[in-house]
């Protein structure tokens, strides 16, 4: 028997009902329906081709926000959505995944591990489509209205022009939700969408506190900030460079005017000590 909530039911999310004709008549779901999960929702969406910057920011923001009990809503796609969901479950937060397909399908299927984890951590998987309805072009866009409708505000970390994330933003605007956008480099393809949003009046989010303020919460000071105690002069210089932007070894060597042989060894050691990390050829500060 399918688990389903109808629009006339008492448990139907209030915020979603407010979007009027756009509100889905039925919501199929997996997991335990608990109305308080819908109380404080934040939609976090991002590009499928998230950069290492976008991934880092998503994780950092979501970790702090979800830790304070805010439910993270997203679309279960790979990239930005996946980063938001997994950062939430990692710290034990609740998250809602709105599927673009029938409730009995896991899409994309290789994220089955994440799917199960969301349910384990008392999260919800929901969809307006029943059974084995396959995801098609229009279901992705329609799904986004539910993501926006469920949430008080939405956070867009990285988005290209004409991306699904901008569709979500469009709905959010229509429903009068607060839109937060994280700025990126103006040359980056996946920052063009967010920058456009900022131009149109979205609020700039540069730290989790910006969003928490909107929810009347204040950020908790975490004691995670690392102390740069055992760093040599050279290592400090490298960290200084990397704090500005992620770089590959060649460029670090060039800017610091040190041979790449020496830089290579230093970078490996710093990575082992956990100060920096490497992804797709570039180093960045943890």
């Amino acid at each position: 028997m399918d688990k389903v909530i109808k629009i006339e039911d008492k448990e139907y999310p209030k915020l979603l009902k407010e979007i009027g004709n756009d509100a889905p008549k039925k919501l199929y779901y997996k997991g335990k329906w608990n109305s308080d999960i819908f109380e404080n929702c934040l939609a976090v969406v991002g590009s499928r081709h998230l950069t290492s910057y976008g991934k880092k920011i998503t994780e950092q923001f979501v970790t702090e926000i979800a830790a304070l009990g805010i439910t993270i809503v997203s679309g279960f796609m790979y990239g930005g959505d996946e980063a938001a969901h997994s950062a939430t479950v990692r710290i034990g937060g609740r998250t809602i995944a709105v599927m673009p397909c029938g409730i009995d399908i896991i899409h994309p299927e290789y994220q089955e591990g994440l799917y199960n984890e969301i349910l384990e951590k008392n999260g919800l998987i929901i969809s307006e489509l029943e059974g084995k309805f396959l995801p098609v072009n229009w279901t992705y866009a329609r799904r986004n209205r539910i993501v926006a409708g469920l949430s008080k505000a939405i956070l867009i970390v990285e988005a290209g022009l004409n991306s699904g994330s901008l569709i979500t933003a469009k709905y959010a605007k229509k429903y009068g939700r607060k839109i937060f956008a994280v700025p990126g480099q103006i040359t980056s393809e996946v920052s063009k969408g967010t920058i456009q949003l900022i131009k149109e009046g979205a609020q700039v989010a540069t730290e989790p506190g910006d969003i928490l303020k909107y929810y009347n919460l204040s950020p908790v000071k975490t004691s995670l900030t690392k102390q740069n105690l055992a760093l040599s002069k050279e290592e400090q210089k490298i960290i200084e460079q990397l704090k500005r932007e992620p770089m590959e070894a060649d460029i670090i060597a060039r800017t610091l005017n040190v041979s790449v042989v020496k830089i290579g060894a230093t970078l490996s050691l710093m990575q082992l000590k956990g100060f920096i990390n490497q992804e797709s050829g570039k180093y960045y500060v943890n």
Binding site: S52, V190, A265, G281
Partner: protein
């Protein structure tokens, strides 16, 4: 009248003596027959021999001529028996005797002259090993055979000259054995200093060249992967004498030595296209011949667009990558070719090529990217020592000093370091049967790569943090050994190991 003319047959790199028995019978109808499992080329040699003898001004005997290639049960092929057959017939007609302990090989032209023939070096080596004193080969192949010390190599221009020599009317000056001392420099497409930026990739190339490590470069189109690979021959150390002989043997069998050519002294750089067939790359065919992997023996096999190679071709390279040779088995023959090469592979990170590109947008879906990257299987990646990600270089970011290629290190300087590292390795492995750090097995690693407690701890932490496989763990030690050799250090230091970790297998993260 029966005449025996000794020659050889090459089965792979193995050489067996063949007696070319020529019988001219007075009885029976005139004719010309060859027996002893000849192939089409040998069968046609009848016509070449007949024409060559006639054009040399000798009447072709109208007798019943039968040629037997003994042993009769081994398949023989090629045109190398033209000369022995003709010598056999001529010795009967002109009444000269064939000198003892001599071998003959060569293809005849209709005008009686001899053409460059493959396999001369192998025959010379065979002659030396089995106590033959003289070998008679075409003039163009004489330099090749002349690389072997201790035998007399006679360069034969045509049949008239040879007959004159046997009749003691003319003299043929044997080729003088000369040790090739100075390396003939082969032209290289690019100098390393022409490659702007990519310092780490260049360094990885240097390490690869010094220790014969396999290397893979991943990066977007236009980032300089191919240019780096093409610049590699300029920093490779020259072949030493034994290596040179090994390589020349393969090229001799494959018929890839230029007429007049001798020993190959430069490391070979082979770059087959990704449409190469399995047999073309690995070797084989109905008459097994060496493939690209063997032609790259002791040199470089550069596979551009590595993940475009067919799956079966890629997987077939596992054995040569691991063992340094490969065995080709066919229903009738089994041959072994050495294939100890250094693999240089380059690949795009995704089908469109622009994943992680700073300026261009990647249009591939995650599924496409995963599928594309999976084309290079784990076992193959695991056999590659150095992994580098190559990002496009923005030349506008360079200062004038950095842009000036005159100030950058040239291939010549890098090559000097590489040669020194190579010499250290040769000395180290004197008593072992290996030549380079990349070939070290676990026992060698234990013996030659002493690690201090500090380094062991470092490596241990790294293997947990980076999830290194057991093979990668060992590979990192080997690479560190080469880095130490480049620096001239006896023992591996922390800095060497730390640098080696830079080239560990990378996860090309897509999200």
């Amino acid at each position: 009248m029966l005449i025996k003319v000794p020659s050889v047959v090459n089965l792979g790199l193995e050489t067996i003596k063949v007696d070319v028995e020529v019988n001219l019978a007075n009885r029976g109808l005139p004719g010309f027959e060859i027996v002893g499992l000849p192939d089409k080329a040998i069968d046609e040699s009848k016509e070449r021999v007949r024409a060559a003898i006639s054009s040399s001004g000798v009447d072709f005997p109208s007798k019943k001529i039968t040629v037997n290639l003994a042993p009769a049960d081994i398949q023989k092929e090629g045109s190398i028996y033209d000369l022995p057959i003709a010598v056999g017939i001529l010795s009967s007609v002109l009444q000269f005797s064939i000198p003892d302990k001599s071998l003959f090989l060569g293809e005849l032209s209709f005008d009686g002259s001899l053409r460059h023939t493959k396999g001369a070096l192998l025959m010379a080596l065979f002659a030396k090993e089995f106590g033959f004193l003289n070998i008679f080969v075409p003039k163009d192949s004489a330099n090749e055979a002349g690389a072997v010390k201790g035998i007399k190599v006679f360069p034969v221009e045509n049949l008239i000259q040879l007959a004159g020599y046997f009749l003691k009317r003319k003299n043929i000056e044997p080729v003088v054995y000369h040790k090739i001392l100075n390396e003939i420099s082969t032209p290289v497409e690019f100098d390393m200093r022409e490659v702007l930026g990519q310092e780490q990739a260049k360094r990885a190339m240097e390490i690869a060249a010094a220790g014969s490590h396999n290397i893979i470069m991943m990066g977007s189109p236009g980032s300089g992967k191919t240019m780096l690979a093409r610049a590699l021959p300029g920093i490779l150390p020259p072949l030493n004498e034994t290596e040179s002989l090994e390589v020349t043997k393969i090229y001799s069998v494959a018929g890839n030595i230029q007429p007049g050519g001798s020993l190959i002294t430069a490391r070979q750089f082979r770059a087959p296209h990704h449409t190469a067939s399995l047999v073309g790359l690995i070797g084989g065919g109905t008459r097994p011949s060496p493939g690209e992997v063997s032609l790259a023996h002791r040199g470089v096999l550069f596979l551009d667009e590595f993940n475009e190679f067919p799956h079966n071709v890629m997987e077939a390279m596992r054995q040569p990558l691991e063992d340094g040779y490969l065995t080709i088995s066919r229903s009738k023959k089994r041959v072994m070719y050495p294939a100890n090469f250094m693999l240089v592979a380059s690949a795009n990170p995704c089908p469109c090529g622009y994943l992680n590109h700073p300026k261009k947008d990647c249009v591939c879906t995650l599924r496409q990217i995963k599928k594309y990257q999976k084309r290079i299987s784990g076992p193959i990646l695991d056999r590659i020592d150095l992994h580098i990600a190559i990002l496009p270089v923005d030349t506008t970011e360079f200062s004038n000093n950095q842009k000036n290629s005159e100030l950058l290190e040239s291939s010549k300087i890098i090559k000097q370091r590489v040669i020194l590292a190579k010499i250290r390795q040769e000395k180290r492995f004197e008593k072992d049967s290996i030549q380079s750090n990349a070939q070290m097995k676990n026992t060698h690693i234990k013996k030659y790569c002493k690690l201090t407690k500090d380094i062991e701890n470092l490596l241990h932490t790294a293997s947990i943090k980076f999830q290194l496989s057991a093979r990668s763990y060992m590979k990192t030690i080997k690479v560190a050994r080469t880095i130490a050799d480049l620096e001239g250090a006896e023992e591996i230091a922390v800095s060497h190991m730390a640098e080696a970790l830079q080239y560990k297998p990378k996860i090309y993260d897509t999200v």
